[in-house]
């Protein structure tokens, strides 16, 4: 009796919660297009290995299922869960430090059935926490609110830095800063923080690991050690540059097919794409990315409450930063760091967490202002 009535109550609750909502079709189509493109590029970059394509397809499948689930959870529910989620992120980061695995740095957590990087979760968890933090406060934020926000950023960032994974830490910090920026932090504060960051660079340099310094050196003079650390950048630029207007054709990129390119199906997948599809292909891809970012910002701007606005905006900006950092790395504008190309690179954690983020965005869209 009681069980039955309780079950009935849960069902009613679930039906209310997961009420059919309007999907943002353009955004969904763009995401599907990127996923499809990813499978094609992984087929080529992975040396025509069907296994890899199936695995990647399975991840996208999981990602889109999660997207469908997440979009049915109203923003208010997300907001209530946020502190717990944030706490979970911190907990997992601590777990990584204690029992993580990975070569050179501990980034991975092995749960037996899957391995994943908790730092990826933070890219979502931190903006959510900051949005939650600012949601009930007056914006633009007061100094005390700002201080709390910075502490909220520093906690996960510090845990990621000691893994050590400077690249992800920077991205996580970035995603937090976007929330603060979108919350309307005054330009004076922005200028002040910028100056402080600039001044702290030399101090940061002292605390960098040798391999991180190596990456900076290599970025400054990639030709100094063409067979060593500069190899990746040089080979990547050669792959991109040799693509020309229209590329060498799908699966005909010599740089990738002949294995000159390192990490060709993961972090350097854009070089493979550029080589095979040329500048026209790159321009089309960037157009899709720009559309996704713009659409996400538009959804955020139309959100119902402050939490949704800030979270949506942060998701859009973080997504863009992924694209920018990866493209800049591929073309030799930035040092090599382990940032995948969103939704294209082979790999599960990034794709799934991104699709979860877009699920939340869909939810925000479904609960937009009337």
């Amino acid at each position: 009796m009681t069980l039955e009535s309780r079950l009935r109550w849960w069902l009613q609750r679930a039906l209310q919660t997961f009420a059919p909502t309007a999907v943002d079709l353009p955004l969904l189509l763009a995401l599907l297009a990127l996923s499809g493109l990813s499978l094609a590029v992984v087929w080529s970059a992975g040396g025509q290995d069907p296994d890899m394509v199936w695995k990647q397809a399975a991840r996208f499948g999981l990602g889109f299922v999660l997207l469908a689930v997440c979009m049915r959870i109203p923003p208010g529910t997300w907001r209530r869960w946020t502190p717990w989620f944030y706490a979970l992120c911190l907990l997992l980061l601590l777990a990584v430090l204690l029992l993580g695995e990975g070569k050179g740095a501990q980034r991975w957590l092995n749960l037996g059935f899957l391995r994943f990087q908790p730092s990826e979760l933070c890219k979502l968890g931190l903006p959510m926490m900051l949005a939650w933090h600012f949601h009930e406060r007056v914006l633009p934020p007061s100094p005390s609110a700002l201080f709390t926000a910075l502490v909220l950023i520093a906690l996960p960032a510090a845990l990621i830095v000691v893994q050590p994974d400077l690249g992800t830490a920077v991205l996580v910090v970035g995603s937090g800063l976007f929330v603060i920026f979108l919350a309307g932090l005054s330009w004076w504060w922005i200028a002040g923080i910028g100056a402080l960051a600039g001044a702290s660079l030399p101090v940061l340099w002292q605390f960098m690991h040798d391999y991180q310094k190596q990456r900076v050196y290599q970025f400054l003079a990639p030709d100094s050690d063409p067979l060593g650390s500069g190899w990746q950048t040089i080979q990547s630029k050669i792959a991109v540059g040799s693509g020309g207007w229209s590329g060498k054709g799908w699966t005909h990129g010599t740089q990738s097919q002949l294995e000159f390119l390192p990490e060709r199906h993961t972090d350097f997948v854009l070089a493979v794409y550029s080589e095979e599809f040329g500048w026209i292909g790159v321009a089309l891809l960037m157009l899709v990315y720009a559309f996704v970012v713009g659409r996400a910002l538009w959804i955020a701007a139309n959100a119902r409450d402050g939490y949704s606005r800030l979270l949506g905006g942060a998701i859009a900006m973080t997504f863009f930063v992924y694209v920018f950092v990866n493209s800049a790395m591929i073309t030799g504008l930035m040092p090599v760091k382990g940032v995948p190309l969103p939704l294209i690179s082979y790999g599960g954690t990034s794709a799934v967490s991104l699709l979860v983020a877009f699920g939340i965005l869909m939810s925000i869209h479904a609960h937009r202002r009337a």
Binding site: E136, Q235, G241, L258, E259
Partner: protein, 703 residues
């Protein structure tokens, strides 16, 4: 916060939304700007700098792989193979593809045995080359090793058996001093080689014909444009320019004659050179003992090399090319020609040999080999009996300057320019030479002994053979040469190398040459001839001259001269040509520690000539002639005893001060019972018809 109470009322959704929109639009503008910058960067790389990167991509992908040409064959004049290329297998390792190089080598050693030498050489290579290059560990795997490795191959990633062509010398020791050998290119070679042409070539000619004709034998390198991956593994061939094999080198040498010559030496230490007088082409070129050139191709082990260096008779020493010998009496025919040609002697000039010769006004005595002398002799007889006095006087009459001038035209004292590297020059003494060498003036006594090819004189076997060939060819001297023709491929006929005439007219008056030639025939066929026994029974007539001397390069002998029996200290020499009327072959032979020229060298020469001209036993004519000549000259020296050098000692004069170098020039030395460089007999007469030569051997020697 002061407004904690009225937080909600103060929070202005409209204003916040507007603020967000402003920030979002600003962000979007920045984002689009950054996208623009990114696209610009892509445009720069992909369009503006496309050519540069396309070229670099192509260079990445396409590698020019050299295809080493097959080395040209070396053959004898009839096409018998002296050097060819054989398919062999070598073990190669790509260090980068082995998980642990040291462990792999240890494990590999259990499948294919290689010694510490090969291991250390390989590790040197590893240190010097790129890690992804395939490097040879062991050459010339046996079939069993190839098969064994095929079974175990799966255990050794990065290790492979690779076929290649290796140089092979099927004749073994027989041609080692002629053909030479190839060896791995070492840093010393690299300076002189065109790196482009030798890309992919591992071996280069180190000695002999292999070295002289390296350029022709090597051929032209080919190239293969291959697509490789980042590991350097070849995926496919895009374009191929085949290599052009090296030219075949046909030697003038007749392999049959070479074999006969080596056989004629019968295991003795020495050398023999046979030349075609009509062209200067070398028909046989033997230096014994020899070595197996195949040892050097794959890199000789340090132990084997040491063994060769220390082997008795020094097999690596090319006696025919580099050995310096005192020519002794073999110089007399050339002296005789000098006398006639320079007008110092007439055709019918005679002298009386008394057994001892003195320079007017001096006390120094120079002897004939026969006690009491040879009586009155003319030029022919002076050659037949090897009368020293004739040449003592002749040398004095000519003077050292004119001797040097005329004899140098026959090639003495300078390398002949044969197509082998490392030829010795020999010594044809002159005033200038002595001043340059010792800073001493020339003394008349030195002229006298130089007249019989002793003193400072040093000749190489090649010089003697070449000069003899000039007499045989009527005064035309050609540059001696081993190569006969080059052949680019077997589709085209061989391209003969034209003979190089060095001196078309060494003798002005044919009568002069005829007289000397008659003298040389008399040596072999007259009853007084020193080598008459050797010519007995020949089907053809031989012209020749014997000589006995001491080896000049004594210093390197392990045995001190004193410890040897006298006969062992001698170098037996013979020069000659045949048939005397129309010579087709001129030869020079030296047998080290071989006793006298007529005893040791002349019989060798006879066997060589028999091999070339056909043995035949109908030596009737020569036997008859021999009998006649015996009568005519009335040799009564049958009972001639040994010159007891000890008895002669008081008469022996060391000569002027400069003669104190007697140890260097033993020919000048007195014949003391004790003093070390005891001179050796230079000549043996052949007294009487077919005498047992051993018992007869009288010693000819100056005091």
């Amino acid at each position: 916060m002061a407004g904690l109470r009225k937080r909600t009322p103060i929070k202005d959704q409209q204003a916040e939304s507007a603020l967000f929109l402003r920030r979002a639009l600003l962000s979007l503008a920045l984002i689009l700007l950054v996208f623009g910058v990114l696209l610009g960067r892509f445009f720069e790389l992909m369009v503006l700098r496309h050519d540069e990167y396309a070229a670099r991509s192509e260079r990445n992908r396409v590698k020019l792989q050299p295809l080493p040409p097959a080395r040209g064959l070396i053959l004898d004049r009839h096409g018998e193979i002296l050097a060819d290329n054989r398919l062999a297998y070598r073990l190669e390792v790509v260090p980068e593809r082995t998980a642990d190089l040291a462990a792999t080598l240890d494990e590999l050693a259990q499948v294919i045995a290689f010694d510490a030498d090969e291991r250390s050489r390989f590790l040197e290579l590893v240190a010097a080359r790129r890690r992804f290059q395939s490097l040879p560990l062991k050459l010339r795997l046996s079939e069993a090793e190839v098969a064994r490795f095929a079974l175990e191959r799966y255990r050794f990633p990065g290790v492979d058996v690779v076929p290649y062509l290796t140089r092979h010398y099927p004749q073994g020791e027989l041609f080692a001093h002629v053909v030479g050998y190839v060896g791995r290119i070492d840093p010393a070679d690299l300076g002189g080689l065109d790196a482009r042409r030798y890309a992919g070539t591992t071996h280069v000619g180190k000695t002999g014909i292999e070295r002289t004709y390296e350029d022709a034998l090597h051929g032209e390198v080919g190239y293969e444009k291959v697509e490789t991956n980042a590991e350097g593994r070849v995926l496919r061939v895009l374009e191929r320019t085949p290599p052009r094999a090296g030219e075949a080198v046909y030697l003038a040498i007749d392999a049959g004659l070479q074999r006969a010559t080596a056989a004629a030496m019968a295991g003795q230490t020495g050398a023999a050179v046979a030349i075609d007088p009509a062209s200067g082409e070398i028909l046989a070129f033997v230096s014994l003992p020899s070595y197996d050139a195949n040892l050097f191709v794959s890199g000789i082990s340090r132990r084997d090399y040491q063994a060769l260096l220390e082997a008795p008779g020094r097999p690596l020493f090319n006696r025919a090319l580099q050995g310096g010998y005192e020519p002794g009496s073999t110089l007399k025919p050339f002296m005789a020609l000098a006398g006639l040609e320079l007008g110092v002697r007439s055709v019918d000039y005679t002298i009386v040999s008394t057994g001892e010769f003195r320079i007017p006004g001096q006390d120094i005595g120079f002897r004939d080999w026969r006690r009491g002398g040879h009586g009155r002799v003319d030029l022919v007889e002076s050659l037949a009996q090897s009368v020293n006095s004739y040449y003592y006087q002749l040398a004095l009459d000519l003077g050292i300057d004119r001797m040097h001038g005329y004899l140098s035209r026959f090639g003495f004292g300078a390398p002949t320019g044969v197509d082998l590297a490392g030829e010795a020059a020999g010594i044809l003494p002159s005033r200038e030479w002595k001043r340059a060498r010792f800073n001493q003036p020339w003394y008349p006594g030195e002229t006298v002994i130089a007249g019989i090819g002793q003193g400072y004189n040093v000749a190489t076997l090649l010089q003697l053979a070449s000069a003899t060939a000039a007499i045989a060819a009527g005064g035309r001297r050609f540059r001696p040469r081993l190569a006969h023709a080059l052949r680019a491929s077997f589709d085209v006929p061989p391209r003969p190398l034209p003979p190089e005439l060095l001196d078309p007219r060494l003798v002005r008056d044919p009568a002069h040459l005829a007289l000397v030639q008659r003298g040389l025939v008399a040596v072999m066929h007259s009853p007084t001839g020193t080598a008459r026994a050797v010519a007995a029974g020949a089907a053809y007539r031989i012209a020749g001259k014997t000589g006995t001397a001491q080896r000049v390069s004594r210093r390197r002998d392990t045995d001190a001269p004193q410890t040897l029996r006298e006969g062992q200290r001698n170098q037996a020499l013979f020069i000659g040509y045949a048939p005397a009327e129309a010579p087709t072959i001129a030869i020079a032979v030296v047998v080290e520690q071989g006793g006298s020229g007529s005893q040791a060298a002349a019989p060798v020469a006879r066997r060589i000539l028999d091999a070339w001209l056909g043995a035949g036993e109908s030596g009737e004519g020569s036997a008859d002639e021999g009998g006649r000549q015996e009568d005519r000259s009335g040799t009564g020296d049958r009972g001639l005893g040994r010159i007891d050098s000890a008895l002669r000692q008081p008469e022996t004069i060391e000569g002027p001060g400069e003669m104190s170098g007697a140890a260097e020039h033993p020919a000048n030395a007195p014949q003391p019972p004790v003093p070390s460089p005891a001179p050796a007999p230079t000549e043996l007469p052949a007294p009487g018809p077919a005498p047992p030569m051993q018992t007869q051997a009288p010693r000819e020697r100056m005091p």
